[in-house]
C-alpha cells in the first residue's frame, strides 16, 4: 500500500527522461557537477594562456594565429586578446564553477537526502534551473565567436569601459552584450535554484530533523541560497540597466563629457559609473560567500567524520554561518575604497568588514577544536578538508590588510588582491569541491575513487597552489598592478619577472597534476571497487541508504531522525558513531 506521496512517483524510463531532462535531483546534481567540471577546465586553460603571455608577451605561437587570426596575428597575443581571456577566465570561474558545483552540484544531490526528503520541492523547476544554466554557458562561450571577440572589461565590467560600446575596445561590441545576456540568464537560473533550496529546506525535512539537527552542509546550502536569491536579483537589475545604456542610449552609468577614440560621445549624460559599482558589488560580495560557504560546510562535515568527533561548537558554527550571510550584505563597499565614493562610508564599510572576519575566525578555531583530541583518519577527502583549513587561513589573513582603507591605498588593484581572492576562491573553494568529490563519490556512483592516486593529486595540488598564489602577495608589496598583459613598460617591475616565471611554471605543473584527478574520476566511475552504503562510517542520512541511492532515495520509507548530525565516539555506544536514524535508545546526549 503506497502513501499518497507516491501516487505520482515512478522511476523514469528512457534515456532522455533518465539522463537528459531528468526531474531527479541526483541526476541534476551530477549534471551541474559536470557543467562545472567542463567550465573549470575552460577557465584553467584560459589562465594558463594568461600566465604564458605575462612572461612571454612577444612570443609567437603558431597555433594562436590559427585560433585567433586577428587577435593573435602572426601568433603574437595582442593585449586585447589577453584582456578578453582574463575577463572570461574570471567570469567562467566565478559563475560557472564556484556558484554551480558547491551549491547546485553537491547541494542538489545531497540536500534532500540529508534532510530525509525524496526530492527537491519543485523537481520540474529544478530541471529548468539546470538547463537555464546550460543556456547561460552557451551564450557566454558564444561571446568568443562573435566579431570583436569576448569582452575585455574584466568580470567586474565597470562602465564606461563596459558601457560605452565598441569604441572603448575590441570585444566591447557584441561580445559584451552576450556577456550581459548570459549573466542575466544565469541570474534567472540561480533564482529558480534558490526557490527550490529554501522551500525544500524549510518544508520537507523529515520527522525529527529539526533545524539544529541538520548537518552543517545543509545550513551552508540554506544561507548560500538566500544570498544568491537576494544578490542575483540585484545583479539582474544592474545588468538590464547596463544593457540599456549600451543599446538604447540611456545614461544610468554613463556621464556626459566623454571623448573616446577621437569622438565626442554626445548621447549620454548624467549617469554614474559608481552606481554600477555599488549595484555590482552589492551582489559581488555575497557572491564570494556563495562560493565559500558550502566548502566550509563540507569541511566541517569531513573534519568531524574523520576525527571521529562531534564538530566543536555546532551552535557557534551555525551562528557563524548566519552572521557571515547577514554581514555579507553590508560590506560591499570594501571593494570600492579607492573608487571616489564618500570616504566616510569607507570607514563604515571597513568596520563591518572587520566584523565579518570574526565569524570566519570562529569557524577556523572550531575546526582546530574539532581535530583536537580526535582520532584522525587521513583519507583523501580528509586531506582536502585539512588543506581547505590551511588555505582558508592563508587567504583570509591577507584580507585583514585589504579591509583597512588606509592600507588599501597601496594594495588596491595590485597583485596582493589577486593573491587574496585566488587563495580563497580559486583554491580553498576548489579544495572544498575536491573534498566533497572524494567523500561523496562512492554514494553518487556506487564505486570508490582510487585513494593513492587521490593522495598524489592532493599533495601536488596543495604545494602547487601555494607556489602559484603566495608569491602574488609579494608582488603586491612591490606594487605590481593588476590586469597588465605585459610588464615591460614599468621599470620597477623588471626585477619581479622571475617571480612571474616561477608562478607560471608552478601553474603549468599544477594544471598538469589535475589530469591525475580526471583520470581517477572517470576510470573509477566505471572500474572502481564497489562502494558499500557507508564506507566512511559517517552519521548523516545519505550514508543510511544504498550506494548509489534508489531513485526516490529512501525506497518509500520515511526516515525518522533521533540524533544530531555528528555523534561520533559517544561514550557507551557500541560503535564509534551513531547514525542520525539510529533508534533513540542508542546512548547519546542529543
Amino acid at each position: 500500500m503506497s502513501s499518497p506521496a507516491h501516487a505520482a512517483h515512478h522511476a523514469p524510463q528512457g534515456f532522455i527522461r533518465k539522463y537528459v531532462f531528468s526531474l531527479d535531483h541526483k541526476v541534476i546534481g551530477i549534471q551541474y557537477y559536470f557543467l562545472g567540471l567542463f567550465s573549470v577546465f575552460v577557465g584553467m586553460t584560459l589562465s594558463l594562456l594568461m600566465r604564458f603571455h605575462m612572461v612571454n608577451p612577444n612570443a609567437s605561437v603558431s597555433w594562436f594565429a590559427k585560433i585567433w587570426p586577428t587577435a593573435a596575428a602572426g601568433g603574437v597575443m595582442t593585449p586585447e586578446l589577453y584582456l578578453s581571456l582574463m575577463t572570461m577566465h574570471g567570469t567562467i570561474m566565478v559563475f560557472f564553477v564556484l556558484t554551480t558545483v558547491p551549491q547546485s552540484g553537491f547541494g542538489n544531490y545531497f540536500l534532500p537526502i540529508q534532510i530525509g526528503a525524496e526530492d527537491m520541492a519543485f523537481p520540474v523547476l529544478n530541471m529548468m534551473s539546470f538547463w537555464t544554466t546550460f543556456l547561460a554557458l552557451v551564450i557566454m562561450i558564444a561571446a568568443f565567436f562573435v566579431q570583436g571577440g569576448a569582452p575585455l572589461a574584466g568580470w567586474t565590467a565597470y562602465p564606461p569601459l563596459s558601457g560605452a560600446g565598441r569604441i572603448t575596445g575590441p570585444g566591447e561590441g557584441m561580445g559584451q552584450n552576450l556577456w550581459i545576456l548570459s549573466i542575466a540568464v544565469f541570474c534567472g537560473a540561480s533564482l529558480m535554484g534558490a526557490i527550490n533550496f529554501i522551500a525544500t529546506l524549510v518544508d520537507l525535512r523529515c520527522k525529527g530533523m529539526s533545524l539544529m539537527r541538520m548537518p552543517l552542509t545543509c545550513w551552508t546550502w540554506l544561507v548560500t541560497a538566500i544570498l544568491g536569491l537576494l544578490g542575483f536579483a540585484v545583479l539582474l537589475a544592474a545588468g538590464v540597466l547596463l544593457l540599456l545604456d549600451r543599446t538604447v542610449g540611456t545614461s544610468f552609468f554613463l556621464p556626459g563629457g566623454l571623448y573616446i577614440n577621437d569622438q565626442i560621445i554626445a548621447n549620454h549624460k548624467g549617469g554614474s559609473p559608481l552606481l554600477w559599482q555599488h549595484l555590482f558589488w552589492f551582489f559581488g560580495h555575497p557572491e564570494v560567500y556563495i562560493a565559500i560557504l558550502p566548502g566550509m560546510g563540507v569541511t566541517s562535515q569531513l573534519l568531524s567524520t574523520f576525527s571521529r568527533k562531534p564538530i566543536f561548537g555546532y551552535k557557534a558554527m551555525v551562528y557563524a554561518i548566519l552572521s557571515i550571510g547577514f554581514l555579507g550584505f553590508l560590506v560591499w563597499g570594501h571593494h570600492m575604497f579607492m573608487s571616489g565614493m564618500n570616504p566616510y562610508s569607507a570607514m563604515a564599510f571597513a568596520t563591518l568588514t572587520m566584523c565579518i572576519g570574526v565569524p570566519s575566525a570562529i569557524k577556523t578555531f572550531n575546526w582546530i577544536g574539532t581535530l583536537w583530541n580526535g582520532k584522525i583518519h587521513f583519507t583523501t577527502s580528509m586531506l582536502f578538508a585539512l588543506g581547505f583549513v590551511s588555505l582558508f587561513v592563508t587567504g583570509g589573513v591577507s584580507g585583514i590588510f585589504l579591509g583597512q582603507p588606509a592600507l588599501d591605498l597601496y594594495f588596491h588593484d595590485t597583485y596582493f588582491v589577486v593573491g587574496h581572492f585566488h587563495m580563497i576562491m580559486g583554491v580553498a573553494a576548489i579544495f572544498g569541491m575536491f573534498a566533497g568529490t572524494f567523500y561523496w563519490f562512492p554514494k553518487m556512483f556506487g564505486r570508490m575513487l582510487n585513494e593513492p592516486l587521490g593522495k598524489i593529486h592532493f599533495y601536488l595540488t596543495f604545494v602547487g597552489v601555494y607556489a602559484i598564489f603566495t608569491p602574488m602577495h609579494f608582488l603586491g608589496l612591490v606594487g605590481n598592478p593588476r590586469r597588465y598583459s605585459d610588464f615591460s613598460n614599468v621599470e620597477y617591475l623588471a626585477g619581479v619577472i622571475p617571480v612571474h616565471s616561477f608562478m607560471s611554471w608552478a601553474a603549468y605543473i599544477t594544471a598538469a597534476a589535475q589530469i591525475i584527478f580526471v583520470i581517477n574520476l572517470f576510470w573509477s566511475m566505471k572500474k572502481g571497487p564497489i562502494a558499500p552504503a557507508n564506507p566512511w562510517d559517517s552519521t548523516t542520512l545519505e550514508w543510511s541508504i544504498p550506494s548509489p541511492p534508489p531513485f526516490d532515495n529512501f525506497a518509500g520509507v520515511h526516515p525518522v531522525v533521533n540524533h544530531g548530525p555528528y555523534e561520533y565516539s559517544v561514550p557507551g555506544a557500541p560503535q564509534d558513531f551513531i547514525m542520525q536514524t539510529d533508534p533513540p535508545e542508542v546512548h547519546s546526549e542529543s
Binding site: V202, G208, S210, H558
Partner: protein, 214 residues
Amino acid sequence: MGMSGSLTHDILNGPPPPPIEHGWGGGGGSDGRGSSRRASFTGLFVLIAASTMVFAALTSAFVVRRGLSDDWTSLPKPPVLFVNTIVLILSSVVLDLSRRALKAGNRSRFNLWWTVATALGVTFLLGQAYAWRQLNDAGFFIATNPASSFFYVLTASHAFHLLGGVAALLYVDVQALRLRLGPAKRTAIDVTAIFWHFLDGLWVYLMVLLYVWG
C-alpha cells in the same frame, strides 16, 4: 459524465482539509499534500523576496540617479495610468471574491469572478501599452531623459512580472472551466492569488514613486 467519485465530491463540497502541519522545529512530514502545499507557499515567498530585491535595486538606482545630476526633469505622465491602477486594484478585489466563493463551495461563481479578474489583468497590460504609446507620441522615449528611462524600466519590469501573473491566472481559469480543481490546484489558486496581490501592491508603490519623485 465520466467524472470519478472524489472529483464530484470536490466540486460539490469543496476539497478536504489539508493534513495537520507540524510547524518548524521537530521536523515536518514529507507526507505528500500537506508539505507540498507548505513548500509552494515558501517557494512563493522566496520568489516575492527576489522580486522585491529587483525593485529595491531599481529604486536605489532611481534615488541615486535623481540626486546626482542636475538633468532630472519630471516626466509628464499619461492620466490613463490612474485608470490602469483602478483596474488592477479591482482585479485583486475580484480575485479575492472568487476565492471566497470557492471556499463557500460555489464553483460557478468562482469561475465567473476568476475569469473577470483575469480579463481585468489583461486590460491592465493593454492599458500600460496604451500609456507607453501616449508617452511615445509626446516624444518621451526610453533614452529621452533619466526620468523617462526609469519610467520605462520600472513599468516594463512590472509588466513583465504581471505577464507571468496573467499566465498563472489563465492556467487556473482553464483548469476551472474544465472542472479540474483538486487539492493540488487549490494550492495553485492560493499561490497565484497572493502573487497577484503582491504585484498589485508593487504597482501602487511604483505609482507613488513615479508621481512623487519622478
